[in-house]
Structure formats: structure tokens, C-alpha cells
């Protein structure tokens, strides 16, 4: 078996590595959060706490998997499956290295955005079917937040698409040989970063699951492995957003030849994962109306202006 795009080895490798990375992120995040709060974090299980994830996994697998009697059983059960599926599907179009990937799609960027939109169904169904006021509030917030932040998440990417002249992620990466798109598309990068945080509802934009206000938001009623799937899907979403930023703005696998391309990709992606964790440690959560007005009144016009200016510059360069 050879390692090429679409081979079974490649698919299996991507699925395995992504899921294991997401699980390991639980430990990594707890350790890093600890360091940034002048604590040590979990360091007693295994070498420097590396087996903490195993302990967490055993705990979550052996917990009672309980469906509340008042919940709508069908949608309650499929909701965590949806988010897991769509987020893992998004990885199909991510180009990890020249020879690692699942499909070489001409609509890669659109596919990722479409999958992110489908993810909204999961949190909405999960919250609505729970028949719980906190879950309902959480899913209402999640729906509004994801729908509105998706708008300029897409628009902020159009600058990159215009520069590369393609929706194909591999071509986007290859067109960055002369220079990463972070320089011409800095505004687009910042907007995409913020929208990405909101899209994967991580802190500081974790308003759909804000513990202090509405328990755990849309997954208040979930337990056991169903909760675990929401939990792991959040971390996979984090990996996805970091990979997307790497691919679209930081030249994907490109880098000096002293390391293999896949390692360059991993290093860049991990830097962004660490940055997201740093954001969680440092930045407080905005109020809900602040989040919405910030999105619609500031980021949306900014991303439109960015797209307009990019288009003008591209046309005048021709």
C-alpha cells in the first residue's frame, strides 16, 4: 500500500491521527491552561500527565449513558453523531501533505463551509430534544451565533480564493509558494480566526455552552459517550479550524526542506491550537448581544471591505 491521495492507508491515517490528536488535546489543553494560570495542571498520571487522557477516556466510557425520559429520543441520540460526522467529513478536503489527503476536490473550501453549516443542526437538535430550558437557550444561542458567524467566515475566505483563483485547497497551498497569504490577507486572517473560534464555540465565544450562565448549554442533558462525542467533536473542530488557517493563510505543508511537509503542517497547526488555548486562558467571554452586534456591525462590513479592496488590487495588477 502506498501513501497517496485517497488510498485506504491515507484515509485511515488521517482518521486515526485526527481522533487521537483530539483526545490528546484534552490533556494538552489542561496542562497549557494550567501553565498560563501559574498552576501545573494534571501531571500525576503517566509521564508528566500524558496518560491523563486514558484516565479521562476510561471514565467517560464507563459512565452511565442515560437518556432522559422527557427527551425526544430519536433526535437526542442522533445529535452527537451529526456533529462528529460532519466535522470528520470536513477533514476529507484538507491537504495535509502532497501525498496525504482523502479527496482532491475542486470545491474544497465550499465543502468545509457546508459541513460547518450542517454542524449547526447538531447543536440545535441536541438542545431542542433535551426538553430542558438551559439546553434550549444554549441551542438558540448556538443557532444564532453559528448562522451569523458563518456569513463572514465565508466572505473572509473569498480574498484567499480570489488570490489563488481556485476553491481547491491543494491549489491554494501550491499558489502560496511565493508568499503566504497571511501578508496580503491579514484582515481576512483575523476575521477568519475570530469566526473560527465562534464557529467551534470555543472560549471566548463559548456562549452556547457558557457554564456560568446556562449550565453546559445544549449538552446539559447528555452523559456518557454521547457527551463525550460533543466534547471530542469540539476538539476536532479546534484541529479543523487550525488546519484550515494553516492551509489557507500559512502555506499548508510548505516550508524549508529540512523537515518533511507533513511535519511542517503539524507544527503550524499545533501553533494555532496553542493560540486557541491561550485565548481561552486570557480573554473573557463577551455578552451575548455584544457578540451579535460585534459580528454584524463590525466584522461583516470589515470583511466586505476586505473583499472589495482585494478585488480592486487584483484587477489593477492585471
Amino acid at each position: 500500500m502506498t501513501l497517496e491521495i485517497g488510498s485506504f492507508l491515507s484515509i485511515g491515517l488521517i482518521l486515526g491521527v485526527v481522533i487521537v490528536t483530539a483526545a490528546l488535546l484534552i490533556t494538552v489543553e489542561r496542562r497549557l491552561l494550567g501553565f498560563w494560570q501559574e498552576r501545573l495542571g494534571p501531571n500525576r498520571v503517566g509521564w508528566f500527565g500524558s496518560l491523563q487522557v486514558v484516565a479521562d477516556m476510561i471514565k467517560i466510557f464507563t459512565k452511565e449513558d442515560w437518556i432522559p425520559p422527557f427527551a425526544d429520543k430519536f433526535s437526542f441520540v442522533i445529535a452527537p453523531g451529526i456533529i462528529m460526522t460532519v466535522i470528520l467529513l470536513s477533514f476529507a478536503v484538507i491537504p495535509f501533505a502532497p501525498n496525504i489527503g482523502v479527496i482532491d476536490s475542486n470545491i474544497g473550501v465550499l465543502f468545509v463551509l457546508a459541513m460547518a453549516s450542517l454542524g449547526a443542526y447538531s447543536v440545535m437538535l441536541g438542545g431542542l430534544s433535551s426538553d430542558n430550558k438551559y439546553a434550549l437557550l444554549g441551542s438558540l444561542r448556538a443557532a444564532a451565533q453559528m448562522v451569523s458567524y458563518e456569513v463572514f467566515m465565508g466572505i473572509s475566505l473569498l480574498g484567499v480564493v480570489a488570490l489563488a483563483g481556485s476553491f481547491n485547497m491543494r491549489e491554494i497551498v501550491e499558489s502560496q509558494v511565493d508568499g503566504w497569504y497571511i501578508i496580503p490577507q491579514f484582515v481576512g486572517f483575523v476575521i477568519f480566526l475570530i469566526a473560527g473560534v465562534a464557529e467551534s464555540h470555543r472560549l471566548p465565544f463559548d456562549i452556547p455552552e457558557a457554564e456560568q450562565e446556562i449550565c453546559a448549554g445544549y449538552h446539559t442533558e447528555y452523559s456518557g459517550m454521547k457527551f463525550g462525542m460533543f466534547f471530542v467533536a469540539e476538539y476536532i473542530g479546534l484541529v479543523l479550524i487550525s488546519s484550515l488557517i494553516t492551509v489557507l493563510f500559512f502555506g499548508g505543508w510548505l516550508g524549508p526542506a529540512l523537515l518533511p511537509p507533513i511535519l511542517w503542517f503539524a507544527i503550524k497547526a499545533f501553533a494555532f491550537i496553542a493560540f486557541f488555548i491561550l485565548m481561552r486562558a486570557a480573554v473573557p467571554r463577551p455578552r451575548y448581544d455584544q457578540l451579535m452586534s460585534y459580528g454584524w456591525l463590525f466584522l461583516l462590513p470589515l470583511s466586505l471591505v476586505n473583499l472589495l479592496v482585494t478585488g480592486v488590487i487584483i484587477l489593477s495588477m492585471q
Binding site: G34, F35, W36, Q37, E38, R39, L40, L278, M279, A281, A282, V283, F298
Partner: protein
Amino acid sequence: MIRLIADTLLSQVRTLWLVFLKLFKKKDTVEYPDQQPYMFPRWRGRIILSRDPDGEERCVACNLCAVACPVDCIALQKGEMEDGRWYPEFFRINFSRCIMCGFCEEACPTNAIQLTPDFEMAEYIRQDMVWEKEDLLINGTGKYHDYNFYRVAGKQIEGKDKGEALNEAPPVDVRSLLP
């Protein structure tokens, strides 16, 4: 407006940078079982019953500690020796109730009951949290080394009459004051 936006963004970036720098700071965590924390001498931990310098029990079973205790975790019964001293027949502290507030120590007139800096008292069986007098008594004077209640108190016991205690004036013969 632009000023406000710029200030807000700069403030966020500064926050992120300052929090990032904490990665290199010394951590506040004390890794407890491996590394013992410094326990202050007046820490309110495990309760003991001390003895006076002669080796006798200090407790005179006055019940003030049991009265002062806000959670009623102290139980004791007064007994009397032949020489007139009072002592507790039993003295029982239920440490599963005790909140280590130290009120008993403050109430004690004879410095018998004292709190120590030890806090490692976890047990697997709840009944083991109830400590009897022989568990509580120590072979020492605790924090007050020279104090002996019966030597300074006016209480009459065998071998020490009224007025013979330290710093105590002899009893006044009221009849001699008559004209």
C-alpha cells in the same frame, strides 16, 4: 470610533501576550504529598489534650469546650479523684463533625485542649473518625510549657489548701474583721 476599536484590539493583544508570558513564570502549585507545605505553628488542625508539667491531665472536665463547640462534636463526663481533682471519665471528639474552628481551645480555662498543625486525618471507616481520650492525650504540655492549673488556681485539693496556690493571698478570716 476608530480610536476605540484600536484601543480595544491592542488591549486584547496585550492581554494575550501577558498571559503567554506566564508560561515562563514559577508556578504557585505545591505538589503536596511529595512536597510538604509549611504549616504555621498556630494552624488549627488535629485536636489534642495536653498534660501539665507534672504529667497529670490538664483537663478538669468543666464542659466549656463542649458548650462552645458550634457543631457539638465534643462529649465528656466529669469524674473526681480522691485528692479532689476533677478529670474527664471519657472525652470523645467526633472528627467527622469537627470543623477545626478552635473555639474549644479559646474556651478552655486550663489550656488542656489545643489544636495542632497536623491535618492528615482521613480514614476509610467513619467510626474511626471518633477519637477517645487515650487517642487525644499526648505526653507533653503542648504550647504552654509551665502552666499548671492546680498550682495557680484557688481550688482546694489534697496537699494544697485554700490560699496556698501561687500568687494567692491567704484566705481572709472574716470574723477577725469584726470590731
